[in-house]
């Protein structure tokens, strides 16, 4: 697709990038890999995420409070209500799964006993 020989092809839109790739990609890649494996990068990542999380917390909490109040006044379930309901459904589902497993075991039990009895 891109130029393979040394002739400049004016119709290959990625020709320039291909040249960069063949000549400098490996070096660029190694440099980037080294950079992300430095303590400075790790520190910068940590600080950036920490700053973002801290600064967004105020906005997030304010929004949550406003939404909760608005929904309560409108007599509608809040996010916490819906999440709580979903969690309860999850727990019920687990109990149902355990019940289903017990029901599954019942038919297997007599069969096993029947299979075992002739031998004994």
């Amino acid at each position: 697709m891109t130029q393979k020989d040394e002739t400049f092809n004016p119709f290959d839109p990625t020709g320039m990038f291909k040249d960069m790739q063949t000549t400098g990609m490996d070096a660029w890649s190694k440099m980037m890999i080294q950079m992300v494996h430095t303590d400075a990068y790790a520190k910068a990542t940590g600080i950036m995420l920490d700053t973002w999380a801290s600064s967004s917390a105020v906005f997030r909490q304010t929004m949550e409070t406003i939404m909760r109040e608005v929904l309560t006044k409108l007599n509608m379930p809040t996010r916490a209500d819906v999440i709580g309901l979903a969690e309860r459904l999850g727990n019920i589902e687990m109990r149902l799964d355990d019940l289903e497993a017990k029901l599954d075991e019942k038919p297997r039990g007599p069969r096993k006993a029947a299979a075992a009895s002739p031998r004994s």
């Binding site: 002739t7 839109p13 990625t14 890999i33 920490d50 589902e93």
Partner: protein, 363 residues
């Protein structure tokens, strides 16, 4: 090259080139914005719990010729498991079905806001044992083999150590992040073990950690290859159907990111990456102490030599802690995903897994 050597193309040549380029650009942009048909092997849902689904693949080998012990696949919690069944003709699931296995796959699903507190305790002792119970019930076998990949391997290891009498006969671990002793090994370990990296604050801010954030972190480890090289490579091979098909399938899987439950993320960073509790012997799951010495299943621990996400040292160190009598370490050339989904997987990885398992899959 001198000016006299430059040949001026004719109008027809220019037009022809422009038409070709336009066609290629159209094809390229379609590949970038569309989804390939992946995970096509026929299967049925046999169990669900919350967002988790357990699939059974439709066997293609007659019952009497199949291995008696079913194979249970457990993938990571922050990606879709479709990479195990990438595309027809290049699918690990399909390969194992052809070799006579009864294959089951656990898809953890995408956690919602109500799942923000789900952690490894829940995955290991609430979800996995129930899914195992269903696998045993449907297959009719009291023993089973389990293959865990990445964080799926971590969960599988915890389960195998905590429930050694549950019928697990064979355990295959693929690129398992278990030992975080070396804090300088790999980018993730270095970033997350830094004192300035505060997982609690991230989870408090997001609830569930967005898939895009995890995806960015993984790609940043090899940024040039992932953000530039991959796309240049596609352009270079735009007229090679084999490469295009493979790239499209992989890109479809990579783009389909899912969030990671906040509780699991918090635990992964604090208890595993920072405190290395599993190897230190201080890890407790739902109050039960995890002792790797209690793991008795046969173990094949597969390491990707060029893995930048789980460096080999994070998997190797576990071998002498396992209580298993039959344990092997297998080194495969390739990266974290490449060893199972790359073009060489069918020759370099899958046959090794299948042969190891076949020798241990009779009752």
């Amino acid at each position: 090259m001198t000016a006299s050597e430059i040949r001026v193309p004719s109008f027809a040549e220019v037009y022809g080139e422009l038409v070709k380029i336009a066609g290629n650009v159209q094809k390229y942009s379609k590949l970038l914005t569309s989804n390939a048909r992946i995970a096509q092997t026929p299967k049925e849902v046999i169990w669900t719990l919350n967002k988790a689904k357990l699939y059974r693949y439709v066997p293609i080998v007659a019952d009497e010729k199949r291995h008696k012990i079913p194979l249970f696949l457990v993938f990571a919690i922050m990606n879709r498991p479709h990479v195990l069944d990438l595309r027809p003709g290049h699918s690990f699931v399909e390969y194992m079905l052809q070799h006579g296995y009864d294959v089951y796959l656990l898809d953890w699903g995408a956690p919602g806001p109500e799942d923000r507190n789900l952690n490894f305790d829940n995955y290991t002792l609430d979800y996995l044992p129930r899914a195992v119970r269903k696998v045993k019930s449907v297959s009719g076998s009291d023993t089973f083999s389990m293959l865990g990949w990445c964080l799926g391997a971590l969960i599988s290891t915890l389960y195998a150590a905590l429930r050694p009498d549950d019928g697990l006969k064979n355990l295959i671990l693929l690129t398992a992040p278990l030992d975080f002793t070396d804090k300088t090994a790999g980018g993730f370990s270095r970033w997350t073990s830094h004192p300035d990296f505060n997982a609690d604050k991230i989870v408090d801010a997001f609830g569930n950690v967005p898939g895009e954030m995890i995806d960015y972190g993984a790609k940043a480890l090899k940024s040039v290859e992932n953000f530039v090289g991959s796309f240049l490579s596609l352009w270079d091979n735009i007229n090679n159907p084999k490469v295009v098909e493979s790239w499209h399938a992989m890109n479809t899987w990579v783009r389909d990111t899912i969030p990671m439950a906040g509780g699991a993320y918090r635990q992964l960073i604090n208890e595993f990456y920072k405190e290395n509790r599993l190897m230190e012997g201080t890890l407790a799951i739902k109050g039960e102490h995890v002792d790797l010495g209690k793991l008795r299943a046969n173990v094949l621990n597969v390491i990707a030599e060029a893995d930048h996400i789980t460096p080999p040292c994070q998997s190797e160190g576990v071998m002498n802690r396992l209580g298993s009598a039959d344990k092997q370490l297998l080194r495969v050339r390739g990266g974290h995903i490449g060893i199972m989904a790359g073009s060489g997987a069918e020759k370099n990885t899958w046959p090794h897994l299948e042969q190891w398992l076949a020798a241990r899959s009779s009752l």
